[in-house]
Structures are given as C-alpha cells and as structure tokens.
C-alpha cells in the first residue's frame, strides 16, 4: 500500500488510489493549482453553499432588522425627523433637550426605575419561594404547578383589565377582602401613589414562568449533597442557604438579567391602565410609554430615537455591571473558586 495510512489522499484531500501521487494532506500539486491555499473539495464547497443557503434568511434578517436599525437609531438620534420630511441633522440637541426642556423625561426615568427596582427583586424572591414550595413531594403537585403557570399565560391586555376590575377602589375584590380584615384599602389605580405598586402586583401575578425555571434548577441539585449535609447535622435553613442557593446562582443570574431588561421596557400594562399620559398624574408614564408617545403621537422620530439609545446604554451598563459582580456570587459547578 505504501507509506500512507489507509485513506490515501491526493492534493486537496480527495481520496485517491494512485500511490504515485503525493499523499501528504495539503501539499498542492503546483501544476494543478495556482493559489497558495489548497482548493476546497467539491464536497466541501457544496456543503458550504448549502450551509449558506440554509442560513441565508437569518443573514438577511440580521442585516435588515438588527444591524441596520441599531445604526439607524443612532443616526436618527442626532436628527430631527418628523416622518413627512427628511431627517435634519441637529447634533446633540435631542440629548440636551432630554435633560433640560423635556419635563416628561425625568418622570419616565423615575417611574421605570421605581418599577424595575421593586418588581425585579420582588419577582425573584417570590418565584424562588414558590419554586421551593412546589418542590415538595405532595399529591397533585403537578396540578398546583400548572395553575401557577397558567396565570402567567394570560394575554397582557386581558390580565391588566381584570386587575383594573379587581383593584377598583370601591366594590373591587381586593379592597372588599381587605375590608374583611379591617384594612381600608387605598385607591390603587386612581391614586398616583398606589398606581405603580398596583402595577408591580400585576407583574407578580405573572411569576409562574420564572417559578418553573427555578423549579428546574432546584431539581438539578443533587439530592446526595443535601442528604450528606443533613447527615452532617445541617438543618433545613442551613441546607438552603449554604447549598441550594449557591448552586442556584446561575439560574438566579439568568432570571435577574432577563427581569431587568424586561422591566425597563414595561409598556402594555402601563398603557392599558394609564393611557399615553400615564394617568393618574403621570404616575404610570413609563419610559417606553413616553418614547412611544414621542414617536407615534408627536412624530418626533429623532427625539424618540435618542430616548431609545439612552435606554439601550442604561440597560447595557446595568447588565455589564451585573455580570461584573458575578464572580463574587455566581457559582458554576465544576469551576475552581479562586
């Protein structure tokens, strides 16, 4: 057979039975090729073409619906663009206006920050607690799981409306039930101080999905670890905080990041209750609602783009900060702690 191992190959890697041909992979026969690189075999080239064909729709989408819009947003943010005319370059005017003349900007920032800072930690804690609760071995546990998750499947508009009904100041279910306990319930969505808490409670109703994610994470924790710990004398509290939580930190990180990104873009529930003015008294004027209003009611596309860029940067910074701190608290199985 010759000095070559089975699978005699000629230039370009094609199998050949001719022992006279050089059998080193990648050694071009100068007479056949003029390029320095060995020519791709026909098989590989077909595969590459097929691969690109399969992926082509996505490439188009990336260019048209992701790359271009991001760059365009950046560009428009430096212009004044009222749709009917072409964009007019105004430099940093939009950005300075944000911090000076736009009175709704600080309101939008405050409302969204308030909402995010409360709904995310509360949501994390509740879904984690519920997941622990759902992890017990009890009859019908599957049914409970389904019921809790079902709540998060409600179409947002319908869910917001039913909360409006339930949180009516007079005659609404919530205040009536509170009355049974002797508590005089607040005006909720009619009171600017209570509208956002009401919105946050609405978001908590939808923790079913995060709960199931945590539940999956809980089930991944090896039972032997917990058993060994209890044999060593650890009580349930210690087992939870010293073993369960650390092993759950990757899941917590995931829910934290997605929660932050989502909560800063809260829109539907806010606009269904408060309209585009965020009533009562702009208490529900979230950042995204303000942006929507600027773009699609006042047709200030340029200014709206600037608002979008600012939010993007804020989300980016926060996400990077969160990831920066992960070394301090996220524990990935198999990694050495430095």
């Amino acid at each position: 057979m010759g000095a070559c191992s089975p699978g005699l190959r000629g230039p370009g890697g094609n199998p050949t039975a001719d022992p006279c041909v050089s059998c080193e992979m990648g050694t071009p026969n100068i007479a056949l090729t003029t390029s320095a690189r060995p020519r791709m075999s026909k098989l590989r080239r077909n595969e590459a073409i097929a691969g690109l064909a399969f992926v082509l729709p996505w490439i188009i989408s990336l260019l048209v619906f992701t790359a271009y819009p991001v760059l365009a947003s950046l560009y428009y943010s430096f212009t004044e663009y009222a749709i009917t005319q072409s964009p007019k370059w105004v430099g940093l005017e939009n950005y300075t206006a944000m911090f000076t003349t736009d009175t709704a900007f600080p309101t939008g920032v405050y409302n969204s920050a308030y909402y995010a800072l409360l709904s995310v930690p509360l949501g994390l804690a509740s879904s984690l607690a519920l997941a622990v609760l759902l992890n017990v071995r009890v009859r019908f546990i599957g049914l409970y799981r389904t019921l809790y998750y079902l709540a998060s499947l409600t179409p947002p508009v319908a869910g917001t409306l039913i909360f409006l009904v339930m949180f009516q100041p007079r005659g609404g279910l919530i205040n009536v039930v509170l009355g049974f306990f002797g508590v005089h319930g607040p005006e909720w969505f009619a009171d600017p101080n209570w509208a956002k808490p009401g919105l946050i409670l609405l978001s908590l109703w939808g923790v079913g999905a995060s709960t199931l994610i945590f539940l999956a994470g809980l089930k991944d924790i090896p039972a032997e670890l917990l058993e060994a710990a209890s044999i060593d004398g650890a009580n349930a509290w210690q087992r939870f905080w010293r073993i369960t939580i650390p092993l759950l930190t990757p899941v917590i990180l995931y829910n934290l990041v997605t929660g932050v990104i989502g909560s800063f873009q809260v829109f539907t529930s806010a606009i269904v209750i408060g309209g585009t003015t965020g009533k009562p008294q702009e208490s529900l004027l979230m950042y995204f609602v303000h942006l929507y209003r600027e773009a699609f009611r006042y047709f200030n596309m340029g200014y709206a783009s600037a608002l979008a860029v600012v939010l993007f940067i804020v989300i980016l910074v926060i996400t990077v900060l969160i990831f920066r701190t992960t070394k301090g608290w996220v524990f990935y199985e198999g990694e050495q702690k430095s």
Binding site: A48, P57, Y144, V176, F312
Partner: protein, 285 residues
Amino acid sequence: MPTTVLQRALRRRLPGLAAHGVLIVFAIAFMAPFYWMLISSLKTAQQMFAVPIQWVPPVAHFENYPNAINYPNFPFLRYLWNSIFYSITVTVGTVVSCAAVGYGFARLRFPFRNALFYITIATLMIPYIVTFIPTYLVFKNIGLLGGYAPLIVPAFLGNAFFIFMMRQFFLGLPNELADAARVDGAGHFRTFGQVMLPLVKPALMVVAVFTFMGAWNDFLGPLIYLSDNRLYPLSLGLYAFRAQRTTEWGLLMAASVITTLPLIVVFFFTQRYFLEGIKLTGLKG
C-alpha cells in the same frame, strides 16, 4: 409523657398538611383573577362593583357575549380570526426558518459560521426598543404599513433565540445519521427534511407553542403597524374597546374571556411542551 398515637400521627402528617395548605392558598390567589374574569363577564357593570360582593352572579347575563361580539365598530369575531391567522402564520414561519437556520449552524460547515453564530447570540441582548423605530420607518418607506406584512415577514427570516435552541438540538443528533444519509445518496436538503427534521419534532413543538403564545399576546407590534380597525387582533381590539367604552365593564370582561380562553385551551392540549420548553431552555414565553 409518652406521646399518644394521635399525637404521633399528627406530627407525621402536619408538614404535608401545612404544605397543602400553603399551596392551596397560593392556588386561590393565582386563580382568583381568572374566576373573577369569568363571573364578571356574566354580570352587569353595576353588579360587578356592588357591595356586598357577589361571589356568584345571581343571574347569568350570558348576553354580555353576543353584545360584545356584535358591538358596533368592534367586530370581536373578526378580531378572533385575525389573532388566529396572525398567530398561526407567525408560528409556521418561525418554526420553518429557525429549524432550517439552526440546522445550517449545527450540521453544515461554511465560512464565518462560528462568528455568525456568536453574533446571533449577541443580538439577544439588543432590546426591542432600539430597533423598532427604524424598522417601522423601513416598512413605511416600502409602503407596507397598515397590514400584517411587517409583523409576519420577519418571522419567516428567523428568530435568534429559537435558532439557538434548534441548533443545540440538531447538534445532539448522532453524526452517523448524516453519514448514512449521504451514503444513501441524499443531498443536504433531503437529509434535512427527511432524516433530521422528523427527529427534532419535540423541539419544533416547543418553538411552535411559545411562538404561538407570543404572537397571540403581541400588543405593541399590531399597535404601531395596524390602522384599520377590522384588522386588529384581539389584544388590540380589547385595548381599543376599553379606550373608547370605559364603562361597559360587563362586555369588556366577556371580551377578555374571549381573548384568554383560546390560549388556555391551546395550553391544555400542549402542556407538555410548555413545561419541557421551560426546563430545557429557560424560556418564559
């Protein structure tokens, strides 16, 4: 003092009973809005907010439903059809495109494949807020505003998250299958369609149910692209109804039930895929 049989039995059962108790309390809390929506849809507006509270409607006002459906200028049956059409079309487009693209990333080698894949993952971090205005303007300049095209066409081009998911699934298939198919003379497209695709059906179902739900609940998309009332899906129709007829609560609740019920029905038939999907990928839906 020696414990009695009763005391021992109670001590054993108590944790289980306590767990049940807490579970039931939360179940009531989570289900209450659904129950309330249902019975409110059978009440008149006055009855809904009457004090003392009516836990069960004294008279079932079923006419809320036909009244809502036939309300002038708010064709709710049309809205229902629009929602179904929109959700199914987007689902088909997403499943097909994400399966194909995911397969390409997983099993075919082409230049820049890895870089392209990492870019795909990176785009998951780009919030909707920063792309939706220029996208709207693109469609405006093409003249496709006012219909479902801007909402449906992108779905046929792929979705980063589901592409990622399908790629992972295809990677899990044994290589020998592709080799066997090739030996049998199948080209890439046949290998994909007849050999690989049938093997990832569970993953396709997961993509399908989450996409369907996402499209059914989509609000902002239809809000900015649709202007003709008759094209509204249920989410938008409900919003418009509430914006204009703020006091017709009974009808509003009936319309809400019409909006919510189909999704729950779909869920009950495809439960398995929701739960599997969440477990596998951390999808929230």
